[in-house]
């Protein structure tokens, strides 16, 4: 690696789910902020081990659904009762009952877009470049290895202290990732 690159952080590798869990607890307790755990599958209990707050995706779903049902009902009222009133069987031009199925489908549709869109937005995806991919071993993060990365941007980051913490946490392999 050339010297023009900047240090991104330290990447530690672990072999088992239990190892990475204990390591995450240690890093959390040491008070780091800019760090993350990379695993091939979601590990149950890892959010607590990392001290993460509850995910906010639900709000995106909720507002998607609210927009969906509002737009659905408005569309039907505007089209069948206002812009071009159609009388069918002498019944009222608009009723929330007959318009429910379509408005309901609109709710589900926009709530689903809200969930996926909210997840991508909160995760800042799609992301076309990520310095962590410069590590050749990191390819195993989707296969069978577990990684923990602490960014150099973290206020508590120190080359020696952080490395020692990762070593004590039981990592078999620690490497420096450069951007």
């Amino acid at each position: 690696m050339s010297d023009s690159t900047v240090k991104y952080g330290l990447l530690a590798e672990y072999d088992t789910a239990a190892d990475i869990m204990h390591a995450a607890e240690k890093v959390r307790d040491a008070g780091y902020r800019r760090w993350d755990v990379y695993t091939p599958f979601p590990i149950h209990g890892m959010d607590e081990a990392m001290g993460l707050k509850k995910s906010l995706v639900g709000w995106f779903t909720f507002f998607g659904g609210v927009i969906g049902i509002t737009l659905g009902y408005l569309m039907i009222w505007w089209m069948n009762a206002y812009d071009y009133p159609i009388v069918v069987g002498g019944k009222p031009l608009f009723s929330p009952i007959y318009s429910f199925p379509v408005a309901y489908e609109c709710t589900i549709l926009l709530a689903a877009f809200g969930s996926l869109g909210g997840m991508l937005f909160l995760n800042r995806l799609p992301r076309w470049y990520n310095p962590i991919f410069s590590s050749e071993r990191f390819k195993k993060a989707t296969h069978d290895k577990f990684f923990l990365a602490i960014e150099a941007m973290d206020p508590k980051f120190s080359d020696t202290e952080t490395r020692r913490l990762l070593q004590e946490s039981g990592s078999k392999h620690i490497e420096e990732v450069r951007d």
Binding site: T16, A17, A18, I20, A24, E25, D36, V37, Y38, T39, P40, F41, P42, I43, H44, M46, D47, M50, L52, K54, S55, L56, V57, G58, T61, M75, M79, N80, D83, Y84, I86, V88, K91, Y98, S99, P101, V102, E105, C106, I108, L109, A111, A112, S115, L116, G118, M119, L122, N123, L125, P126, R127, I132, F133, K139, K140, A141, T142, H143, D144
Partner: protein, 488 residues
């Protein structure tokens, strides 16, 4: 911390051998093996069996489109439908395909909410099946409308007549239900694919594969901050898909139930259609999955236990369907409505051998369709009460084919027998399909198989990350997950 915690737990006596659950992935395979085995299907040289299936499927897809062109250029008269049977094979096929899709959503959403971990081995392929089946289903109402070039009038788009769709019609509800169902199924499927596309990206040897999987995996790293949002979104999508799937087939059943026709005008239709849809869908899942696990060597991930559990779902839903048939029949008799009674007895059930002579009526013109339906949907799945049957892959495969046939006949019976003899005997007619009807239906199987084979060749057929997540290695409190001291 973990060790002090485990001391407080009561000692659980070990489970006797006969009560132990079979693991979801056999032979204690390491988690890396799961990626290798599943992605292996979509890597390396294209196998011969794939070409042997793909080429005929593409040819039959060609037939599908040729029939559409013939229909469009000539008119709906090329089909056998004629007043009074104005809905026939087209709508039968539509309901058949859309019903098949429902098993995919049941597996991916409802079984997820019920925390049925075994779903992880089959949900990906079942969701793919859903999407392709809905695509096949969508063809039929569209080409059935006659002037296909005006199909966009179904959508709330401004047109030169300044008129809007009429939202009181269940047929329009169907447009919204089916298109929402397709879109949401696609979103759910794609979201499930993102982590697995990242697996494919990280394994890719060629530049093209790296770029293609790289783009579609959106830069997924497996970060736990991402997993946290991802799992929440997955749960919410499952929660949204569950009422969606129930609404879709309810709305499909409204196409019939909201009308006044005897045989269609019944309140039992929504739940009965949903149960039938799940039943038929599981039939198709088994029809696809049994050969797939064999040719792709996935028997250790889609185990006999998985097949057995699907057999039990078929047994349960098949029994619900059987109950619905019986209840429909009972209500037709109990209502005292002569038209209702006529449809069920003299349009459907009166066979020339037993019931016809017993009731002293002429045999029903479609008695053979009715009794094919009953044998395939009610009698045949009852064999799944026996473990020997559920664990014999050949018998399961044969029964799954019968379920597919039976459920196609169910829709045919509902639609054609109700229409062909309604109130006025002067209006009666017998419906038979033409060769165009038949090839149009066969053609959609070609399209379905083509899409499914492409899916098998280019995407992970099983949710890799999810299967890894249900192995003991994924559990940080299990010895195989690296836990020290404690045991479960």
């Amino acid at each position: 911390m973990a060790d002090s915690f485990s001391k407080e737990l009561p000692v659980i006596p070990s489970v006797p051998k006969e009560l132990e659950r079979e693991p979801l992935v056999l032979n204690k395979r390491p988690i890396g093996w799961i990626s290798d085995q599943i992605s292996g299907v979509a890597e390396g040289k294209t196998p011969k069996w794939w070409w042997a299936l793909f080429i005929p499927s593409v040819a039959i897809t060609g037939v599908c489109f040729a029939m559409i062109v013939y229909l469009m250029s000539t008119g709906v008269g090329v089909w056998g439908l004629q007043i009074p049977v104005a809905w026939a094979w087209d709508i039968t096929n539509f309901v058949f395909w859309i019903g098949i899709g429902h098993a995919g959503t049941l597996i991916s959403a409802i079984l997820f909410l019920l925390r049925q971990k075994w779903r992880t081995s089959i949900n990906r392929a079942a969701e793919a099946m859903t999407i392709f089946a809905v695509m096949c289903a969508g063809i039929f109402p569209l080409i059935h409308i006659g002037r296909i070039w005006l199909g966009w009038w179904l959508l709330p788009l401004p047109n030169s007549n300044s008129i809007w769709p009429q939202f009181r019609s269940p047929l329009l509800w169907d447009v919204f239900a089916v298109s929402t169902y397709f879109t949401v199924s696609l979103l759910f499927w794609y979201m499930g694919l993102i982590p697995d596309l990242a697996v494919m990206r990280d394994r890719a040897k060629s530049k093209i594969r790296q770029i293609a999987y790289g783009i579609f995996s959106l830069g997924w790293t497996g970060s736990n901050r991402h997993w946290s949002n991802y799992e929440k979104a997955y749960l919410l999508l499952a929660g949204l898909s569950t009422p969606l799937v129930l609404s879709v087939h309810s709305i499909v059943s409204f196409d019939f139930a909201v009308s006044q026709l005897p045989g269609w005008h019944t309140t039992i239709f929504p739940p009965y259609f949903v149960a039938g849809a799940v039943f038929s869908g599981f039939g198709m899942v088994l029809t696809l999955m049994l050969p797939m696990r064999k040719v792709c060597h996935l028997e250790e991930i889609i185990t006999v236990r998985h097949i057995e559990l699907m057999g039990k779902v078929i047994l349960a839903t098949g029994s619900i369907v059987g109950y619905a048939y019986g209840m429909e029949f009972f209500i037709a008799w109990y209502s005292g409505n002569p038209y209702e009674k006529f449809v069920f007895m003299q349009n459907r059930a009166a066979d020339p051998f037993i019931l016809g002579p017993l009731w002293g009526v002429e045999p029903a013109p479609y008695w053979w369709a009715y009794w094919t339906m009953v044998s395939c949907n009610v009698i045949c799945p009852q064999l799944f009460w026996f473990k020997k049957v559920r664990t014999n892959m050949w018998i399961v495969f044969v029964i799954s084919i019968f379920v597919n046939i039976g459920m196609w006949f169910e829709r045919f019976v509902i639609i054609v027998t109700s229409l062909h003899r309604d109130y006025m005997p002067s209006n009666w007619a017998y419906y038979s399909p033409t060769w165009v009807d038949i090839w149009q239906f066969v053609g959609t199987f070609g399209l379905f198989m083509t899409l499914f084979l492409l899916f098998m060749r280019f995407l992970p057929t099983i949710a890799i990350g999810e299967v890894k997540g249900v192995t003991p290695q994924a559990d940080p409190h299990h010895p195989m997950g690296g836990a020290k001291g404690g045991h479960h």
